[in-house]
Amino acid sequence: MKAPGKRGVIPGKTVAKKKQEDVTADFEHALEKKKTEQYVLRLYIAGNNFRSQTAVENVKKICEEYLKGRYELDVIDIYRDQSKNLVDLVLAAPTLIKKLPLPLRRIIGDMTRKEKVLIGLDLIRQ
């Protein structure tokens, strides 16, 4: 839930106090927004190979744990669909691309290192 009251100027307070309150409100708002942001993800895999299988399993688990109900995941086989491959300039597979929210990020590998994936998805800070 958004809290618009917190962002408004409250009469009778000092300027310094108002500034402090605004910063807090902005931070909370940003946090709130992060929790509701829709993710559009694209996972490039190379056919039925072992690392690709592992990547699918790991990405799906992370999405269900951190982004349940607010993500779209397309799994693209670079052998089958070459047109999307060209658009996204994929060099290796598996590659996970966070298309939204911006900025665009690429994570290469089988996504076994969960922390690396969470940083890439902007879900935790480095």
Partner: protein, 510 residues
Amino acid sequence: MTKKTAGGIALEQESADLRKEVGELRGKVRELEETLDAIRSGEVDAIVVSKGDSRQVYTLNGADHPYRALVENIGEGALTLSRTGMILYTNTRFAEMVQVSPENVPGTSILDHVCPEHRTEIEKALDGIVEKACRLYVRIRQGIGSLPVLISMSPLSSDENTKISVVVTDRREDESRIQLQARMLDAVGDAVVAVDNDHRIIFWNEGAAMTYGWRPEEVLGHTTMEIIVPELLKDDILKIMAQIERGESWSGEFLVRHRDGHKFPVHRIDSPVFDDEGTLIAIISTSHDISERRRAEEELVASVQEKEVLIHEIHHRVKNNLQVMSGLLDMTRTRSRDEYTKSILTDMMLRIQTMAQIHTRMYEGKQLGKICLTDQIRDQVVGLSEIFSNEGRKIRCQITPDEVFLPVDQALPCALVVNEILSNVYKHAFIGREQGTIGISVIEENGRIRITVRDNGIGLPDNFDISRTNSLGLKLIRSLVKHQLNGSLTFMSRNGTEISLEFPVTPAGK
């Protein structure tokens, strides 16, 4: 020139270092970009990947290309599942089957694509997949409808966390063929029921529903013992099973129970069904309600019995009447003082007695319509010797017969002919002699009967000719043999007389 401060010198130095570093970095970035461009634009044949001590070379036109092409073009759905059933890889065919874009299938669970009624089966199969590969006939979701498929799952390794490879086969054609076969079996008027090796019903056609009163959905999975309760002994069942297991069909009749509780007889044929390896996989049986036939048979038997009783009664009455007549003639005969009259009356009495004997045999005999000729001749000899023994002669009679049976319409004329011949022998063959012997033989050979009466008496007169005789007895013999028996007669006079009578046996009722 202004003198540079120490701080200024240090700053310049730092700036120069940074410029140098940026220059080096630019060079490295350019090199990296060129490498990446070369790989991306296909200017290389292979990529070398190093990990620790091992080094792997990946050719860009991979050795697994034929395998990928096979999986993609096989025409069957192909999947790789995680141990929990998550789809890690799908080929295009499976995505088409479930009508979902191939990009959205990986990451979903196999259970998301299976119709709800089959989910438990799949879950169980996944649980036990490490021990056992499995094949399941299920329906998968296809848009708003569903599709019958065969799912074959096998583990990729014996590891507890093994991946699972799955082949999904479209069974629509199978299903429509099966439906056609089921419709054909429904069209058969008889009850067609198939059971598996545990005797559980796996097929029950419309005929079975009509015959036993149970709908297929009510009985599938139950045993036939529970449903139709056949009245068979345990030994019989074991015997039937042994025959079926040998690959033979069994057929027989027994009582079964209808849903409403009434029992009725069926004629059933059980046949084994084997798979390609020759293992018994099912037993199919066709049953036909034979209540109507049984009823008709019982009515027929009752009617035949009734008619037999009536026929016996008629023969009995005819015999009684003939015996009364014979008795009347006997009384008249013994009172007659004139020998000629007495002789005529005796002949008449004997003829009527012979006919009465035939009718007695008719209702006493077990084989209706067949008369034992030898017994008849024996009785006739006894009757004749009683009548003619008071003349003071000793006449022995030997009968060497086969057991010969004749139909009624031949037995009566035949007995009359034998009566005439024997009467003549008793009356004429031993005139002037104290004793004599008569031999009678009855032989059946190649569908013909030959009766020979031989005596050692005085023989026939020299000028004897049967066609010219005026005697009633001989005329009777000639007429009966010729017209009723379609036979022939021969007379021979040597050390007595030999008369032979031969005729073909006609089957009863003709």
